[in-house]
Every structure is written in C-alpha cells, then in structure tokens.
Amino acid sequence: MVEVYGLLVGAYSRSEYLIKSFREFFKKKLERDELRKRVLEEARRIVELQVEAGLRYVIDGMLEWHDLLRPIAENLAGVEVDGLARWFDNNAFYKKPIITGRIYRKGGILSEYVYPGLVSPGRWKLVLPDPYTFISLSENRSGLKNDDLLFQYAEALNSELLELQKKYTLGQVQLSAPSLVWRRLDKDVLEVVGEAVAEMLKGVVAEKMLYVYFGDGLNALPTILDYEVDVVGFDLTYTNIILLAEYDVERIALGIIDGRNSLREDAEVVIKKIDKYLDKREPETLYVTPSCELEFLPVDIADEKVKLISEILGRIGGGE
C-alpha cells in the first residue's frame, strides 16, 4: 500500500505588504525588529496553512531568504556575495556567491533565517542547496578545485545541520538540486556529487530528500538513486512521468503542481497522472509537491496551490 503525503519544496511567496516592508527596511525607513515582526506574522500564517492542508512536513516560509544561496553565501568563510545573475530560466535573480578561499563554517549560518519554533517538533522541514548547485552557481576565484570546494561546502553545512539537530527535532532535510538536471552532467561528476551529498547529510536523523528541478530528472537518473538519501523528488513540469516510471524509486516526490504558473490544476487530471505512475510503480511513499518553490507566484495563488495539494490528498486518502 502506497503512503501518500504532501509537501512544499522551497521558499514561499512573499505578500506585497512584506515585499514593500523589505523595501522600506533597505531604505532604512523600517526598523529590523518591525520587519522581523511582519515576517513572523506571515511565516505563522504559512505554517498554519500547511498544517491545515495536511502536509507531512512544514517549511517556515523561508521569507528572509532573498534567494536559496544567500544566507549560506553571507555566512560561510571563504565566500562573498556579488552582483545579480539569472535564477535558471526565471524572470528572477540571485546574488552570485564569489568563492575567494577555503570554505568553512566560521559560526552559525542559519540562525537568523529559520523559525523552527513556529512548527511542531518533528515536522519542521529545512531546505538547503546541494553542494553542486551551490558551487556551480558560484564564481570560483579561490584557485581551489571545484571538487575540493564541493566537500568543503558539504562539511561546513553538515556541521550546521548537526548543530541545528541538537536544538530542534527536524522532520525532513531537503537538498534542492536544480543544477544536477539543468544540463546533463557526466556520470562521474554525479557520482562525486553523491559523495559530497553523503558528507553533507552524515549523521542527520531526519528524513533526507533530494529534489531535482528546473530540468529533466532523467538527466540525472539512475545515478542519483544511489545517493544516500531517503526520498528523491522530480519536477514534472520538465520530466515525463511515464519515462520516470521506468525507474524504481522507493520513496518519491512528484512535483506535479506547477509552481510557476497561476492556472489551478484540475485535481482529477492530476490524480489521473499520479494513477498513471502508480499503474507502473508501487513506491513505499509518494509525496505530492509543487514543481518548485512557490515564490514565483503571487501569494494568493500560492495559497491556492497548497489547498489544491490538500484536495488531492483528500481525494486519494493521503496526508497527515
């Protein structure tokens, strides 16, 4: 019997009010404490929405993550933050990390960016960039080899994860890995990345998930199935579900709700597609997720997508 649950896979959309609050803060017209208060109000709402929707693990919204790499780039030794670069094929940009020397953890990285206290113990989901995505989207001015940087990054983040684990009961740790599928990589590159992923997640007791998106999951299959993670997730706005079903994935996340388009999918059509997959495969666990972060949608539309996942879970007897 397949257990079906729902999940989000990355940062939530900021409301117009919150975006403008950040703008006021940057212009020094809003105090840090007031900004934090507004962020926490929205984060609380986003957490409640996910709990009501019956999602298995819950993100805290990641509302202060200006991009997936920023909190890490700003707090790792050996890394600086530079100008804007395009975030894959989106009309959205991230600030490019510049690697200037050996990467290591000089202190807490995420403490200012996460709010695990908003989530019940054991249900908090933390999302981080996988080693290859972080390093490949950075500019390496360190003179060090990229392979060495992968492991330095993995080691630094592992230390951060173990520190967080001491304080909080994490439910799931997701490594977001768009760069693994954006272009097809050589098998030996993917294998080295697998070792770095293992290093990064060593000793983590929460469920470990790798999520590949903004590219065809087939680009990284079957190699990523050997990674030391519990769940592997795919962006079905890029990956053909029938071809994906050729591979046996014990615990799989199907990014079947389009996180970049406002059209609210018909639950029946989505369920039919999931059934197509289940006709061919019977995973132990199946997660229904958006294809990517919901931050590309206006917040009302993002809310609708969460409710849609809830509706789908309700119809097929899944969820918490």
């Binding site: 950040f22 388009n261 539309i301």
Partner: protein
C-alpha cells in the same frame, strides 16, 4: 553618408518637476529649461509656483516632461531621439492594461525587494486600443530630430506572464516540456499578431519611421530564441519602418544564428557595462565587444548598435573612450557603416546632470570615431 549616427535607447529619469514641488525643484526646473531652451518655460514655472494643481495641470506637467526629455537629447546632439518614456510607468504593466483577456494577479519578487505586478492570459487577447499612439503623436509634434519609439515585444510580454489559456489544451500530454512549448508558441504569436502588430501599424500610419522592440527576456530560455524571431517577424509584417531589436544584460551569443532570420534593421545591445574603462583598441581593453564577431559571421547586413555608454554607473565615459569602443567594433565588424553609437540601455537610473554629460560625450566620441575613418 554620416558614420556612427547616435541614438538613445529609451528611458531617462523623471523630469526635475515630476516630484513634490519645492522652491529648489522650481529652481532646478528653471535651470534645465533654460539650458535646453525649452519653449514656454514661463508657463510651466507659473504652474509649479501656484501650489495646488488640478488634474489638467498634471497632464500639462507630463507634456512638459516629455518636451524637456526630447530637448535634452536634442541639445546633447543625438541624431535619433525619444522622450525618455516620461509618461510611462514601466514596460510590462502599462501595455497589458490595454489588453482584454489578461488579468493582473498580484506581485512577485524579482530579486530582494524588487517586484512586478504579474498578469495571466486567461483568454485570447484583444487590444482595446493602441497604447503608445498619443505618446508618439506628442513626441512627433515636438521633436526636431528623427524619432524612435520603443515598445515591449511579444516574447517578453508572454514570458513575464502566466498562461491560463493556451496551456489548457495540452494539459493531458505526458511530455510537459512539449506541452509548455506548444502553448508558449501559440501565446507568443497571438500576442505578436493581436497586440504588437496592430500597435506598430497604428504608429507607422501616424508617421513613425523608427520602431524599437524591446525583448529583455529573450535569452532566459535560449531554446526559445527562434520563437522570439518568429514573433518579431509577425509583429512587423508589412511594416514600412526601420526596426531595432533591443536586448540587454543577456548572453547575446544565444541569439545566433537565429537572429539572421529576423527581418529587422538593427540590433541594439548593452556592451559598455562589460567593457574596461581603459582607452585603446586592444582586445583586452575592449573586452565587452567580442560579440560583434557573431554579427560579422552570421548577420553582417544588420546594423549593430553596441552600447558605448554604461547606464549603471556615474562614471562619465570620456569621448576618447567612446571613440575607441566604436572604432574597435567597426574594425572587428569590418563595415563601419553598420555601426550605430548608443547607450547600453535607458538612462532611467542616472541623474539628468550625469546623463547629459554622458550623452554629450557619446555624440563627441561618435564624431571622433567618424574622423578616424575619414
């Protein structure tokens, strides 16, 4: 024929008086008005001085802003001018306000605290009325130089929007990439035919001879460059005008070879931003202009308008640097008659003082480059 003609690219920051009116704003307006020889300046100053403004006064202010910007570029000596988009808010929301079948859904973050109001196509689009016509007619009535009107292209309008209409018929496909591509193709071409072309036709019928189509989104999905080119051709089908494609802050190599199929006259690209500030004609000094090789190889007949003025810095390019950039591009291209001198992009983020100095040096540098080839 004149070598290295000069032209602007689009925006200019707001005229000095399009803000809260204070004595210093009035003084600044007077300074610019006199410097640019703006006609009927006293009338504007008396409106500014009277305090409370009617909506009619505000409309007059926008006309004056447009006039100031036209005179700004003319006074700097540019050959082809526009009004610095003084009456526009931005390049996405404004056009779509004039389209039925489109619904604005809310804001989305672009980076940090930058955002835009994103719309969804919920039906086949219908143009309510051409949205740049009045603006063009005003500029045309005032300009003493040739006019080029910029407008946002079909590809960018589609790429920056959601699709709740075209995708519907492809939702059953197992291959999501094919589904999205087919829907996108229909969407982009529909916008080109139903929105952009009618706008361009109305402008040309009203006397526009130069059209600039802005497509900043084009290289974000390099595999869709051929679609952008197809849309460009649909947008200008049967149009008798000089057409410029403007792309900036992108990997221009992705335009090739497809851009050779575009039935346009010019390509305007940002280059100064990626160039060094050192004078000279060496490849190292002119590191921002290597892309001209692609034009030489794939589309030699196209005019190239490489930005020789960086619009994101207050550094005022000396005229010698402008000259060297143009001479380098012309030599590398092999046909100096195909090179236009212009800015990287619109000057919206620069003060008028800085922008004016930059434009003066653009013109002077272009004349020096022309001298070089004589």
């Amino acid at each position: 024929m004149r070598l290295f003609p000069t032209q602007e690219v689009g925006s200019l920051s707001r005229a000095p008086f399009l803000k809260k009116i204070t004595p210093s704003v009035i003084e600044e307006t007077k300074r610019w008005g006199e410097k640019l020889n703006v006609e009927e300046l006293d009338r504007l100053l008396s409106i500014l001085k009277k305090g409370k403004m009617t909506s009619e006064d505000e409309a007059i202010l926008y006309d004056y802003a447009s006039l100031f910007a036209i005179r700004f570029f003319e006074s700097a000596g540019l050959d082809v001018v526009w009004d610095g988009e003084q009456k526009r808010v931005e390049m996405y929301e404004h056009p779509l306000k004039y389209v039925e079948g489109v619904k604005f859904l809310g804001v989305v973050k672009v980076w940090d605290a930058e955002f835009y109001r994103k719309a969804s196509f919920t039906d086949s689009p219908i143009l309510v009325r051409p949205y740049h016509l009045e603006e063009f007619l005003f500029v045309k009535s005032k300009a003493r130089r040739e006019v080029k009107i910029p407008l946002t292209g079909a590809y960018t309008l589609a790429d920056w929007s959601f699709d709740e209409y075209y995708i519907r018929k492809y939702l059953d496909l197992d291959d999501p990439v094919q589904a999205r591509l087919k829907a996108k193709e229909e969407m982009v071409l529909d916008i080109a035919r139903k929105i952009i072309r009618p706008n361009i036709v109305s402008l040309v019928e009203a006397g526009a001879r130069r059209i600039q189509i802005d497509e900043p989104a084009v290289t974000s999905k390099p595999w869709e460059v051929p679609l952008m080119v197809e849309a460009l051709n649909e947008s200008i089908k049967g149009v008798n005008a000089i057409v410029t494609l403007h792309v900036c802050y992108s990997d221009y190599t992705k335009l090739f070879p497809y851009i050779a199929d575009a039935k346009i006259n010019q390509v305007s690209i940002e280059c100064a931003n990626r160039d060094s500030r050192e004078p000279g004609l060496s490849d190292e000094a002119r590191v921002g202009y290597g892309v001209v090789e692609y034009f030489r190889e794939y589309a030699r007949w196209l005019e190239v308008a490489p930005g020789v003025i960086d619009v994101h810095t207050d550094f005022v390019e000396p005229s010698e640097l402008v000259r060297d950039r143009l001479v380098y591009v012309a030599k590398r291209h092999g046909d100096e008659s195909k090179i236009i001198a212009c800015n990287d992009c619109g000057l919206r983020t620069r003060s008028w003082d800085i922008a004016y100095m930059k434009e003066k040096n653009l013109v002077k540098g272009a004349m020096m480059a022309e001298e070089f080839f004589k």
